[in-house]
Amino acid sequence: MSALPPTGAERLIQCLEREGVEYIFGLSGGAAMPIFDALVDSNIKLIMVRHEQGATHMADGYARATGKPGVVLVTSGPGATNTVTGLLTALMDSVPIIVLCGQTVSPMLGKDAFQEADVTGITYPVVKHSYLVKDGADIPRVTREAFYIASTGRPGPVLIDLPKDVTQGPCEAPFVDDVELPGYRVPSRADPDDIAAAAELLKSAKRPLLYVGNGAVISGAGKAIITLAERLRAPIVNTLLGKGAADETHPLHLGMLGMHGTAYANKAVVDCDLIMSIGARWDDRITGKLDEFCVDAVKIHVDVDPSEFNKMVPLDLAIHGDARLVVEDLLPMIEPGDTEAWLAQCDEWRRKYPLKYPKQGGLRAQHVLDRLHALTLGNAVIATDVGQHQMWAAQFCLSTTNRNWLSSGGAGTMGYGFPAAIGAQFGQPNKEVWSVSGDGGFQMTQAELATAAIHKLPVKCLIINNNYLGMVRQWQELFYDNRYSGVDLEGNPDFVKLAQAYGIQAWRIKRPADVDRILKLAHAYNEGPCVVVAEVVKEDNVFPMIPAGAAIKDMLIEKPRVRMEKPTGST
């Protein structure tokens, strides 16, 4: 080897290796060439994608499934702007991803050079933090800080913009281990007075409810939450993103709450006298009409991010700390409550308002997802896209294992599910990984079929094909007098043939009688990716439903006979 100093790009890759990076998801271009070149000599595996958005969702799926930051590498200008949706998706759901962008040479910054875009400028609102590196000597420090910031506290995406002269030039700066970030504090244990206050409140509650969110997933609080629920004899509900933190099949678990949550979970929210959020942020899809949300219930909120306190609802007690540590600290102070009447009430609701779907009248998505759950029993990673199929999957595929449920909640990004499943499969090679997509969303990132195929990834891709942008169609049916506008997916490809065109094994489910047989075929198939296309009834609706902006008590259990007003909530 020559005695030449490493280039900035080589130093960068060494830094990534020191961070334990196994995979980089990316797509190259002029400004990123030095970095791609440096990857040739690295053990880090480059997963080449077909569109940069796919790379961001793969990194995101990898991160959600493993808890480790996912890394993306793209070129300048359009390569970088294609990551914006993925950054938003990761920011909204607190996912640690690192996006490395090539950039034009630094003397050309601000001069409309070829493929120059003000990437740090464009992305400020969608990152936890970002860097524009103008001096190669900063590469080790910036990389260390980026990983630290992305993965600690409330995790989130960090972007590093790397001008080509910086990556091509020499960099002898030493590696950095310790970060010095005076403006960045990572909370851990909460104030003991707050813990004691929470114990006191929980003690006097007659109808307590534990409301579990993504913070519990991130901190791994599930086991402690189950113990807390058992000691308190309190029911649990979780958000879409909280699925899997605490085993949804536990007898005290009432499933998902919110817009399309179970009726029994939502009824428990309406009637509880104490609701304790553990890493959930009282999103508008959870609270419905704020003025009527849990007005008389005591509200406790545990969060690592104090900017969430009192943001949506006025709290009685805010506990600033890591969800798992807070619940663990709380456990020794908990005395069993007298909640038997409350639990009996919840069980009665569970019996009276079960999730159900018609068993006749053609193939239904609910049936397919119900059977997928029967086959995988919460042991498979399930990554969903966004729409009706997502809500049905959330309702029927109960999660038993932390980090087995991946779904774009805050951003609701169509196109997320399939690439997220690919990323998850890279991160969890020994787990069974399914994506559940709609026919609309799947087409937004379907180009990644090639990525799955070339790596012979055993990811299983279920497409719920209703030939509609189903969720929007549902709203038009219920709230816009059936006036369909821009929801018919006429022109869909034959998804089985599409998969076959990539050399991918594919099956079609046409009738209810096919469901188990074909799901089992896919379950057993491990030679590479496979696609299952379920041709479901075109017009079906997700219930229960709390129309956006309505009070939870106005939840619809089934389609109302009367005409509905347009929802007042945002979306």
Binding site: P125, G183, A205, N310
Partner: protein, 176 residues
């Protein structure tokens, strides 16, 4: 069920114009990140002063803005959350020392000059430029005092006005 007495949530009770002091890591982009916390809500920053702090590598930002207390409370928490922001404190209504400088250019005719100079003297404003048809006054003090002077002088024809924006410092051992 009534909640037992707990220490109150730190929701701000203060209304009207708020003065916020930020101590920030002096990194490119920090001003944009701060501004975006306001801009995404359509909030206007009314004045903003950025200057080096006593500690090298850090800057002080003093900003004023108006809005409802609950939203501003949230804004301050979101500012504090920014990686480059070391501290964010709302000084509204506390006993901090506050001051501001204004430069005021007036197109004054001979007959108005004496009166303008009398007003200026009353407010301790200094004439820093004296020309044929204009004078420039420099005045400092509390923002309300500056407002009062400017209002009085409008009658004589203010042609240009530059205000520094409010700066403040907490008294005694308190942190700004």
């Amino acid at each position: 069920m009534a909640a037992p007495a707990l220490r109150p949530m730190p929701a701000s009770e203060k209304t009207g114009i708020h003065t916020i002091s930020l101590f920030v890591h002096d990194r490119p982009g920090v001003l944009v990140r701060v501004a975006l916390v306001f801009a995404r809500r359509g909030y206007n920053i009314e004045s903003l002063v950025v200057s080096p702090s006593a500690a090298g590598g850090f800057s002080r930002m003093t900003m004023t803005c108006s809005g409802d207390p609950a939203t501003l409370d949230q804004i301050i928490r979101q500012l504090a959350k920014l990686v480059d922001v070391v501290s964010a404190i709302d000084h509204t209504g506390d006993q901090s020392y506050e001051t501001e400088i204004a430069l005021i250019k007036l197109d004054v005719q001979d007959d108005d000059r004496t009166q303008v100079l009398q007003v200026a003297e009353h407010f301790n404003a200094k004439v820093v430029d004296y020309a044929q048809t204009s004078i420039v006054l420099r005045v400092y003090g509390g923002s309300e005092k500056l407002d009062a002077l400017i209002n009085l002088l409008r009658a004589y024809g203010i042609s240009e006005l530059v205000r520094s924006g409010k700066i403040l410092m907490a008294r005694g051992g308190s942190e700004t």
